[in-house]
């Protein structure tokens, strides 16, 4: 059939693991409601599988063999790798979509040299989104990783090309597929600066993203992103890939910098599929 949904959401571990510590519970609950709405939109789309474009946090790949892009073709996956009490998500088994994933991978390879893996342990980068989008873990998941951790990192224009390849591949299979990009915008996670957010930078980036302004999105350099948005800002690659796959304008359904204990500007958005 085709790509039937494309959106983005945050994945920071605090979203589930530090929910009980939040002072601004009103804003937290607004965020959770936006995630619940995103879940409903994906269910209403008739999606038979969800591609989760995530930013690997050294759960599966290390600097001995780091792919720029990798797609999961396994029967099933497990997660989270983190301590369940710390993350607030119990360890579980998540169904994959091996046949579909292999067909998508074969198509993507026409333009992007994507790696693939039959093994994958999900960390918070995928488990936090799934906790909200498929809490019963009853929808097949195709994990995708973009290396946003271990430089050298893939250039942004390649992340865009990867999104275009994903879109083409989705449109050439009979299944209905949803796609989400998960990452942070400006943030300094896992440093003493955790909670620092550059809201003006976030809003400018989200403006480019919602207009699906390719030139503006690909105009960021890693050096500027590091200085203005922290090392966590490298994860904009996942959002850019989701935008490139959708090709349409975005609808920013939720953004706030008012829950810094989640260590990221919390974001929910969807794109028009054009």
């Amino acid at each position: 059939m085709s790509l039937v949904y494309s959106g983005v959401l945050s994945h920071a571990p605090g979203i589930t693991g530090r929910a009980h510590l939040v002072e601004n519970t009103e804003k937290r609950d607004e965020f959770y409601t936006a995630l619940e709405n995103q879940k409903s939109e994906i269910m209403d789309s008739g999606a038979e599988a969800i591609i989760v474009i995530a930013a690997e946090h050294f759960a599966n790949f290390f600097m001995n063999n780091m792919p720029a892009y990798c797609i999961g073709i396994g029967d099933s996956y497990e997660g989270p790798i983190e301590d369940p009490k710390w993350l607030g998500i119990e360890k579980t088994k998540i169904p994959g979509a091996p046949d579909l994933a292999k067909r998508l991978t074969k198509n993507i390879m026409q333009t992007v040299d994507v790696a693939y893996s039959e093994e994958w342990k999900f960390d918070h980068g995928i488990m936090v989104p799934l906790n909200f989008l498929t809490p019963k873990y009853d929808l097949p998941i195709i994990p995708v990783n973009i290396n946003c951790q271990g430089p050298p990192l893939t250039p942004l224009h390649r992340a865009w090309a990867f999104g275009e390849a994903l879109r083409r591949a989705c449109d050439e299979v009979p299944e209905k597929i949803a796609l989400v990009g998960t990452g942070g915008i400006s943030h300094w996670p896992a440093t003493p600066d955790s909670g620092k957010i550059n809201e003006p930078w976030d809003r400018e980036f989200l403006g480019h993203l919602m207009r699906n302004d390719k030139d503006a999105l690909l105009g960021y350099s890693d050096e500027d992103t590091y200085n203005d948005a922290g090392q966590g800002g490298f994860e904009i690659r996942t959002f850019i890939t989701a935008a490139a796959a959708a090709q349409g304008q975005g609808d920013l359904q939720f953004y706030t910098a008012e829950i810094p204990i989640f260590a990221v500007g919390c974001t929910v958005a969807r794109f028009s599929i054009e």
Binding site: A59, I81, W86, W188, T191, P192, S194, K196, G230, P260
Partner: protein, 111 residues
Amino acid sequence: MSLYNLQKFLYELNRNESIQENYSENIDSLIAKYSLTDEEINALKEGDIGLLYVLGVNGQILMHYAALLGIEWFDYLEMMREGIRVHGPVRDGVYAMTGGGESFTNEEKER
């Protein structure tokens, strides 16, 4: 290369439950397979989050390791700050502290 080995060990530990079993009792034999400096070995044996942070261990690897050790979130942040106070700035990687050591959340400030 040594920081690479240090991170490789923590990467394997974080994702492998069989390594995590009896980790503290078996640490000598586990780390013997990796070429590490005395400073790195001591940091691992002590579970010294602050020193590991300063040595340049990737923040995501260190965060998962701290969770494995059962360290509470705000304690983990403070351990990294204390590491900088004792050992100086982060020596490698992209997870340097840029905020001068202040807290960015009311929840931590009011603790």
